[in-house]
């Protein structure tokens, strides 16, 4: 296994009010590592401390106790930011700038040259699909568009470590799909990705490892496939079977003392349905699809 990009040891965070009185303990004695090149998911219900952990890693919040290093540097060291991309929970950008200006501005904070900035901005705007809106001020953007430009700014410096706080919130399913593809792509480029989410499906699709937090405490930590494997069940997939075929199969299984058999048609999930519909609407505009057509298209 490769080496750790993030190391967290006994990290705790207590939010205090103005008078120093304890309000809430958001993170309790958290210890975990994130390895080079993996996609790591931080899971947990609302208020479980995911965002707080991420902000401490970035130096936005100071831990009450505990140690952490990120890319080998302490969290309070700004120079680590050279190699980090961060997408906040909501996109906190300057609403009076347009997409081009936004990317240019953040590029300048990395001391990038003007040519580099322009090239990178073109790539990213293309990638997040904001080509048409690049000259409009962000205050006119929809939530999803804001998320997209937020993502673009997070990647402006071609970071080695990407921290994504609920990357799919506010995105339409296409956006979600694209986001997941992107994460997989980033992983393929050898980058490390840490994402928080409670969209379990998303996490399941892309993450190598996950940690589950509950009220600030680490409850589960491990590889997704290992965690989700149902060790006492098997699954088999065939084209539609005749009734005799099914009966025969039952017979065969009975010989092996398996009586608890269930036959059903697999359901396409809504995500796939949505994606298909949108794709076909693009190919054949102006049509509305009947249930049969939808079901039929699901078959191929």
């Amino acid at each position: 296994m490769s080496n750790a990009v993030i190391e967290i040891r006994n990290l705790s965070k207590i939010y205090r009010d103005f008078w120093g009185r304890k309000k809430v303990q958001a993170v309790k004695s958290l210890s975990m590592d994130v390895m080079q090149g993996e996609v790591f998911g931080l899971l947990g219900p609302n208020g479980s401390g995911k965002t707080t952990t991420m902000k401490m890693l970035l130096g936005l919040l100071f831990p009450t106790s505990g140690e952490m290093t990120i890319l080998g540097k302490p969290a309070s060291d700004v120079t680590k930011n050279e190699r980090i991309g961060y997408l906040p929970e909501e996109s906190y950008l300057y609403r009076f700038l347009n997409a081009d200006e936004t990317l240019d501005f953040y590029g300048r904070l990395f001391n990038m040259s003007a040519a580099d900035r322009a090239r990178r901005a073109d790539e990213l705007i293309e990638m997040v699909g904001l080509g048409k809106a690049r000259r409009r001020q962000l205050k006119e953007y929809s939530k999803g568009m804001t998320r997209r430009i937020g993502l673009a700014q997070a990647l402006i410096n071609n970071p080695d470590l990407v921290l994504l706080d609920e990357p799919t919130s506010g995105l339409d399913p296409i956006g979600t799909r694209e986001m997941k593809d992107l994460i997989i792509q980033l992983k393929a480029q050898g980058k490390t990705v840490v994402m928080c989410s409670h969209q379990l499906a998303d996490v399941q699709d892309v993450c190598d490892r996950i940690a589950v937090l509950f009220q600030g405490e680490l409850k589960v930590l491990g590889r997704v496939d290992e965690l989700l494997e149902l060790r006492n069940e098997m699954q088999m997939r065939t084209p539609t079977l005749s009734d005799e075929a099914m009966a025969d199969i039952r017979q065969v299984l009975k010989k092996h003392n398996v009586s608890d058999v269930e036959f059903s048609r697999p359901k396409a999930d809504l995500e796939q349905l949505f994606l298909r519909t949108v794709r076909e609407s693009g190919e054949r505009p102006g049509r509305r699809f009947s249930t049969e057509e939808v079901a039929a298209s699901g078959r191929n």
């Binding site: 130096g59 060291d77 700004v78 930011n81 961060y86 906190y92 700038l97 300048r108």
Partner: protein
């Protein structure tokens, strides 16, 4: 209040700045250290060290490019958020202002000053609230909306964010000001009625120092007070020995202007106040009071004037000032006789006046660094020091202590001075020369509420022609004849040259009649044998100096001019009247009031040398620059404070700083320096409650009294701290004040202090703001 010019005290400003910086640095290190160590013990110390190192690393890795990016962000924000709407308000204001402030019946100067005041005030007061708001709100708003999160998670240092904010807002305000300035310039040149536009002046003044000589001939810091509440001006009585003496330093060619004929001249502008004690005729009231300037070189006054302080030594001082050193020496001997035989006859004040006066004399003489004067100055100083011993002993005696009073030692030292004076009287006569150039008198109007109208402009040609007094004439003739004689130009074949008269007229620039008279007298003296011929040159037979020779002739009325103009001679203002005893060239102008029973009032800025005028807009833009510096300082303070508190609190802070700095800074300083009379804060309140005045004091027990005094001391300390932290915003108003009074804005006394104050705050503010932002959590609400 009257327009006053005070030189800015850089030394004290710098000192208190350094002290403040040291205190802040100390606090900045000690407080976090204490709090970290208190909470985390040894780990806290490690945290502190890490924080400090990281702060210093940040400091040395600041990037101009990132700062520029952040600044241009601020600029864009201001533009897109319509901060430029201020212009519209400004334009509207200017459009309607004309209705209220234009009165073409007023005097031109007043109209100009009203317009300029209005414009400059409008500019600063329009921008001020907008800027205080912008600078205090921007950063907290960035934190509240969390747009700062995205910035600080880039490699931007927090200090860069602070600097970028300041710089961006600075550019915004600079642009606003330039545009407003241009509009204002256009408005002024249009709006001011045609007849008043000539008063759009930018006079370049050279102010001097002022002291007074009383009717008794004593030099004094102030003149008489004729009962003004503000005591702004001091007065000199008319038809007396009283003078006001202005000393202008640094006078050289640059102080001169050229008139229409291209001749060099010196302009003296004054606005004195006339005050009369008796009713005059109507015509005399209209005419006002006559005043007269005398340009003078008067080293004897400067050296010995102070000796006139006490009555016992006034005769000595007068003799010395007249150049009668032997008389003075004899008077001094008489005095030492009195000190030896009846020391009690002289009052302590006399001893004080004597030793103080001698100290001044000694210092002035020593400062001349003239080897011919030998150790005469030293003798004076030694006598003064011994005299100080007498004064000190007298004071001890007053308090009832038994002491030996060193009368004898003092008398001995004074005797040495007396001997020194006799010994060196010839040298003194040569080195301490007095020259007085009286100028024509002029009238000062009595209506001093319209004080601008009493302005008088006197043009003094560089080549001065004037009727010389005895001493000046004697010196002049001695110098001219000696010069000619040394060049062998007086004699031909053992007798006076035939062409001597013409040559004298041409070379010495004296009238034909006077030259003839002079040659005739020289001839008579040669015949009489008082002059002799020696090796082709003329010499005074008894070996006296030429000056003494001519002085004698003049006093014996041998040289009375037959010219109706009298003995008119010529001098060069810069060469002959600017004195330069130790590299510090200065011009001495004495002002006298001529009319009996009238008084002439004056303050330091009332008389100045007016150098060549600048175009009005030079001063105007300097005033705008000064406003810019003030607004920049507001930005710096606002941004710094807003690094740690929320918008409204930052606003309150900055506003307090501004108001206290603008209106009470001066008061604080004066109160602390004890200039502002009065008791401590608590004591004053008790006095008010008890209806008692400070002289009587509080009606409380002595224990309470001590508590009150201690409390006042504490409050003074707080005030002192406050006065150091709060910038002196009044500094920035000075430039406008100059321009409103149609003066140029001097760099050293006005612009430089503004710049210094600005940078004095900028640097610590950036350091503090950067630290505040770095060591705070952006999340905590």
């Amino acid at each position: 209040m009257d327009f006053d010019v005070r030189p800015y005290n850089f030394t004290s400003a710098t000192t208190s700045w350094l002290i403040l910086l040291a205190i802040l640095a100390g606090l900045g290190l000690v407080l976090p250290l204490a709090s970290l160590a208190g909470r985390g013990g040894a780990a806290g110390l490690v945290d502190f060290r890490r924080g400090l190192i990281s702060y210093l690393e940040d400091l040395f890795s600041l990037s101009l490019r990132r700062i520029a990016a952040l600044a241009s962000l601020t600029l864009k924000e201001a533009v897109r958020r319509k901060a430029l709407l201020v212009f519209v308000m400004f334009a509207v204001l200017l459009m309607f202002a004309g209705w209220f402030i234009t009165d073409s019946n007023e005097r031109a100067e007043l109209q100009v000053s009203v317009h300029v005041t209005f414009l400059l005030t409008a500019i600063s007061w329009l921008l001020l609230p907008a800027l205080i708001f912008l600078s205090c709100w921007a950063l907290p708003e960035d934190i509240r909306l969390r747009s700062l999160h995205t910035v600080v998670t880039k490699p931007a240092r927090r200090m860069e964010i602070v600097i970028g904010r300041m710089a961006g807002l600075g550019v915004v305000v600079a642009i606003l000001l330039v545009v407003m300035g241009v509009i204002g310039q256009f408005w002024l040149s249009r709006r001011i009625p045609e007849n008043a536009r000539s008063a759009l002046q930018c006079r370049v003044p050279l102010f001097g120092e002022l002291y007074f000589i009383s009717s008794e001939g004593q030099p004094q810091e102030t003149g008489l007070n004729v009962g003004d509440v503000w005591a702004y001006r001091s007065h000199i009585p008319g038809n007396s020995r009283a003078r006001a003496v202005y000393v202008f330093r640094g006078v050289d060619e640059s102080a001169l202007t050229r008139n229409e004929q291209g001749e060099e001249e010196l302009l003296l502008e004054c606005r004195f106040e006339a005050f009369r004690t008796v009713k005059g005729s109507e015509s005399s009231i209209v005419k006002g009071i006559s005043a007269q300037y005398t340009l003078s070189v008067n080293p004897r006054e400067e050296a010995f004037g102070m000796l006139a302080q006490s009555e016992a030594t006034r005769a000595i001082a007068d003799a010395l000032r007249e150049g009668q050193y032997k008389t003075a020496s004899a008077e001094l001997k008489k005095l030492t006789e009195r000190i030896r035989t009846a020391p009690g006859e002289l009052r302590p004040a006399d001893y004080f006046g004597l030793h103080f006066g001698m100290f001044v004399s000694g210092t002035v003489l020593e400062n001349r660094k003239d080897p011919a004067l030998g150790n005469l100055g030293r003798l004076f100083i030694e006598a003064a020091l011994t005299g100080e011993g007498v004064t000190a002993a007298l004071q001890q005696q007053e308090r009832g202590e038994k002491v030996e009073i060193p009368y004898e030692a003092f008398a001995a030292k004074v005797d040495l001075v007396a001997d020194g004076l006799t010994e060196r009287s010839a040298v003194l006569m040569e080195t301490l020369q007095r020259m007085e150039v009286p100028l024509p008198s002029f009238n000062v109007s009595e209506y001093h509420d319209l004080d601008e109208s009493s302005t008088n402009l006197t043009r003094i040609p560089r080549r001065l022609r004037f009727v010389a007094d005895y001493e000046t004439l004697g010196r002049f003739l001695a110098a001219e004849i000696a010069r000619k004689n040394d060049a062998g130009g007086l004699l031909a074949d053992g007798a006076l040259k035939a062409s001597l008269t013409e040559e004298l007229v041409k070379e010495s620039r004296i009238s034909q009649l006077n030259a003839e008279r002079l040659v005739a007298v020289l001839g008579e003296q040669l015949t009489a044998g008082t002059l002799a011929v020696d090796a082709g040159k003329l010499k005074v037979a008894d070996g006296r100096s030429w000056y003494l020779f001519f002085d004698d002739l003049i006093r014996r009325e041998q040289l009375v001019s037959e010219d109706t103009e009298g003995w008119m001679i010529e001098k060069d203002l810069l060469q002959d009247l600017i004195q330069d005893p130790n590299g510090d060239r200065y011009l001495r102008v004495e002002v006298a009031c001529i009319n009996d029973q009238m008084y002439l009032g004056m303050a330091r800025p009332d008389l100045f040398i007016r150098k060549a005028d600048q175009p009005f807009w030079v001063g105007y833009w300097k005033a705008i620059l000064s406003i810019l510096l003030m607004l920049l300082l507001i930005i710096v303070l606002g941004v710094t404070v807003s690094c740690v508190v929320k918008g409204p609190v930052a606003l309150l802070f900055t506003l307090t700083f501004f108001i206290v700095g603008q209106f009470f800074h001066d008061f604080m300083i004066r109160k602390l320096a004890g200039v502002e009379k009065g008791t401590g804060t608590v004591e004053s309140m008790i006095l008010i409650a008890q209806h008692r005045n400070p002289e009587v004091g509080m009606d409380v027990s002595s224990a309470t009294m001590n508590v009150v005094r201690a409390a006042d001391l504490g409050l003074d300390g707080v005030l002192r701290g406050f006065s150091m932290i709060v910038p002196d915003f009044a500094v920035f108003n000075r430039a406008s004040m100059y321009v409103e009074n149609r003066f140029d804005v001097p760099f050293r006394d006005v612009l430089l202090p503004s710049i210094v104050v600005f940078f004095g705050f900028l640097i610590p503010c950036i350091l503090i703001g950067g630290a505040l932002l770095k060591f705070r959590e952006l999340e905590a609400k």
